[in-house]
C-alpha cells in the first residue's frame, strides 16, 4: 500500500465556520439507522447514528460553512453541540477534510 495520504497531513483544526467536505477516499453507505463511512486510505470505519447527521455530512461541500449546513438541516444553536462533536470526531479521523 502506498501512503494513505490522509495521515501525511496534520489534522486541520476543526473550524465550523469554514467549508468542509467528505474525504474523496471515503465511501458512505446509507443504512436504515444512519450510515457507515469507510476510509479506504486509513481503513477506519465510522458509524453515523442518525439520518440527519448523514444528510449534513453529505451536503457539507455544498455549504460555505459547517454551520450553514447544520442550519439548512434544521439544527439550530440549541441542538448543534452533539453534531459539532460528531463532526469534530470525523475531522480527527480525516473522514471529512477542509474543502
Amino acid at each position: 500500500m502506498t501512503a494513505p495520504g490522509a495521515t501525511a497531513v496534520a489534522t486541520a483544526q476543526f473550524d465550523p465556520g469554514a467549508t468542509w467536505r467528505l474525504h474523496p477516499q471515503v465511501a458512505l453507505r446509507p443504512e436504515p439507522f444512519g450510515a457507515l463511512l469507510y476510509h479506504f486510505g486509513t481503513r477506519k470505519l465510522s458509524f453515523l447514528k442518525n439520518t440527519v447527521i448523514v444528510a449534513v455530512v453529505r451536503s457539507l461541500g455544498e455549504h460555505d460553512s459547517v454551520r450553514d449546513a447544520l442550519r439548512a438541516h434544521g439544527i439550530d444553536e440549541n441542538a448543534e453541540r452533539p453534531y459539532l462533536h460528531a463532526l469534530r470526531t470525523l475531522a480527527d479521523s480525516h473522514m471529512i477534510v477542509p474543502a
Binding site: 500500500m1 453507505r29 443504512e31 436504515p32 470505519l45 440527519v52 439548512a72
Partner: protein, 413 residues
C-alpha cells in the same frame, strides 16, 4: 431569496444506541467478508481451518469471480479478505485483485508468502488498496514449522523481507495463538516491528483440520490469562480480529473488554464465500450446519445474504441459554459458535474455553465431535495429518485436477 418554507422541524432523532446492537440484527450487506479463492495449497498446516490442499474441480472461473466482485461493489461491501488455501496459486489472482480494487472493493489477501518475491513485492508497494497478510505461527522456525511444515518459516520471513525492502508499508503478520507459541508474543511483536509490519493475533478454533489437534494445541486456562494480560499491557497497535472477546470476562465486572466490537459477526456483518461459491456464516464454520446457500444455484451472493434461512436465524436475538445466569454474559456473549460446534458442545451452552471454567466441565463430559464433509486435504489419513507435510512445489499445482478423487497432486501432468 428567502424561502417561504419553514426549515424542517427536527424533533430529537430516535436514539440508535450502540453500533453493536445494530450489527447483531444484521445489515443489508456485509461490511467485509472472507473469500477463499481456492482450496489448493502448497502447504498442509495441521490446523488449517479450511482443510485445504487439493484444488476442487468445481472451483469458480475467472468470470464467475468477477461477477461476485460486481455484486460486492453494488452492495458496497468495503473490502474482501482473500484467502484459501493459498490464493496466489491461482493464475488469475492478480487479475482478480486488480478487478476488485478497480471496482471499489478493497482487498487484503492472506498468504503463506510462497509467491511474494521481489518483483511481486514491488508491484504491491506500488498499488493502492491492497493489503497483505502473511501467516506465521511461530516466532522461530522450530515452533512455526511444527505446525506449518518444513521451510515455511523461512518462506514467510523472505516474503516479509521482500515487502519491507520494496517499500510496502504496514503488511500484517497473522498468528494463530497456540499452546506452543503463546510464550513468543513479545518475539512476534519484535518481528513485526523489524519489518515495519503490524502484528495480528487470532484465536485457534477447532475448525477444519484443527478438529484433530485442538485438544493439544489450544491454550490452557493459565495461558489464556497470560494472553489476556499481554493484550491489556502490550496490545496497543496489535490487531486481534475481535477474536478474543470470550476473554473479556478476565477483566472483572464492569470493565476489561478488549477493543473491538466483542460481537460474533457471522451472518450479520461478515461471512465466507468459498472456492466453489458456497456461502457459510464464517470461515471457521465450513460445515453443512452453517451453510447459507450457493451463489450459483441461489441467485447470486446478494440473494443468499438477504434471503438465507440460516442467516435469518442468526440475525434474531440469540438466547443466552445456559449462560444466562453468568455475570459475564454481556462481555462474552456465549463465545464462539464454531468453537462450540466443533468440540461437540451445545450451541446454547458455554464456550469450550470459557474463562469461568464452565466449558472445561462440558469438555470432560460426553460429546461427539462433528467432522466436515468439506475436506480438501491432500492426505486422507487423519493420523498422518498431525505432522505437516513438506511443501508441494508450486509448478505442480497450476493445473486443476481431472477428477475429484485425484489425491496425487501430480495427477494429470
Amino acid at each position: 431569496m428567502t424561502s417561504l418554507l419553514e426549515p424542517p422541524v427536527t424533533s430529537a432523532p430516535p436514539k440508535v444506541g450502540r453500533l453493536v446492537d445494530q450489527f447483531e440484527k444484521g445489515l443489508d450487506a456485509p461490511i467485509c467478508l472472507t473469500w477463499e479463492l481456492t482450496y489448493a495449497c502448497n502447504l498442509s498446516c495441521v490446523h488449517c481451518l479450511s482443510s485445504s490442499g487439493k484444488r476442487d474441480p468445481r472451483e469458480l472461473s475467472t468470470e464467475q469471480c468477477k461477477a461476485i466482485i460486481d455484486e460486492l461493489q453494488r452492495m458496497q461491501v468495503f473490502y474482501v479478505n482473500i484467502g484459501g488455501g493459498e490464493p496466489t496459486v491461482r493464475s488469475d489472482f492478480w487479475e482478480l485483485v486488480d478487478y476488485a480494487t478497480e471496482h471499489q472493493v478493497g482487498v487484503k489477501f492472506s498468504t503463506n508468502g510462497v509467491r511474494i518475491d521481489k518483483k511481486v513485492a514491488a508491484r504491491l508497494a506500488a498499488s493502492d488498496y491492497v493489503d497483505v497478510q502473511i501467516s506465521l505461527d511461530g516466532a522461530t522456525a522450530e515452533v512455526n514449522d511444527a505446525v506449518r511444515g518444513p521451510g515455511s518459516f523461512a518462506m514467510a520471513v523472505r516474503a516479509l523481507e521482500n515487502l519491507s525492502e520494496a517499500g510496502f508499508r504496514d503488511a500484517k503478520i497473522s498468528v494463530v495463538v497456540t499452546r506452543e507459541n503463546v510464550d513468543q508474543l513479545d518475539e512476534f511483536k519484535a518481528l513485526a516491528d523489524k519489518y515495519g509490519a503490524t502484528l495480528r493475533i487470532t484465536r485457534l478454533r477447532p475448525s477444519g483440520r484443527a478438529v484433530d489437534v485442538w485438544d493439544d494445541l489450544h491454550p490452557t486456562h493459565e495461558q489464556q490469562r497470560q494472553l489476556y494480560d499481554w493484550l491489556v499491557a502490550h496490545g496497543e497497535g496489535v490487531l486481534t480480529g475481535d477474536s478474543f472477546f470470550h476473554l473479556s470476562a478476565f477483566g472483572g465486572e464492569g470493565g476489561g473488554s478488549l477493543p473491538g466490537l466483542n460481537l460474533c459477526g457471522a451472518g450479520r456483518v461478515v461471512c465466507l464465500i468459498d472456492p466453489v461459491g458456497d456461502v457459510y456464516a464464517c470461515p471457521f464454520a465450513i460445515h453443512d450446519n452453517f451453510h447459507a446457500g450457493n451463489i450459483l444455484t441461489d441467485g447470486g451472493f446478494a440473494s443468499v445474504w438477504k434471503n438465507s434461512e440460516l442467516f435469518r436465524q442468526l440475525r434474531e436475538p440469540q438466547s443466552a441459554g445456559a449462560c444466562s445466569s453468568c455475570n459475564f454474559f454481556d462481555a462474552c456473549r456465549g463465545g464462539c459458535m464454531a468453537a462450540k460446534f466443533f468440540t461437540g458442545l451445545p450451541m446454547d451452552g458455554p464456550d469450550p474455553e470459557c474463562v469461568q471454567g464452565y466449558g472445561q466441565s462440558a469438555l470432560e463430559g460426553e460429546r461427539t465431535v462433528p467432522q466436515s464433509s468439506v475436506d480438501h486435504s491432500r492426505t486422507g489419513k487423519r493420523a498422518e495429518r498431525r505432522t505437516p507435510q513438506a511443501p508441494v512445489p508450486l509448478t505442480l499445482l497450476t493445473k486443476p485436477p481431472a477428477k475429484f478423487c485425484d489425491e496425487n497432486p501430480l495427477a494429470g501432468l
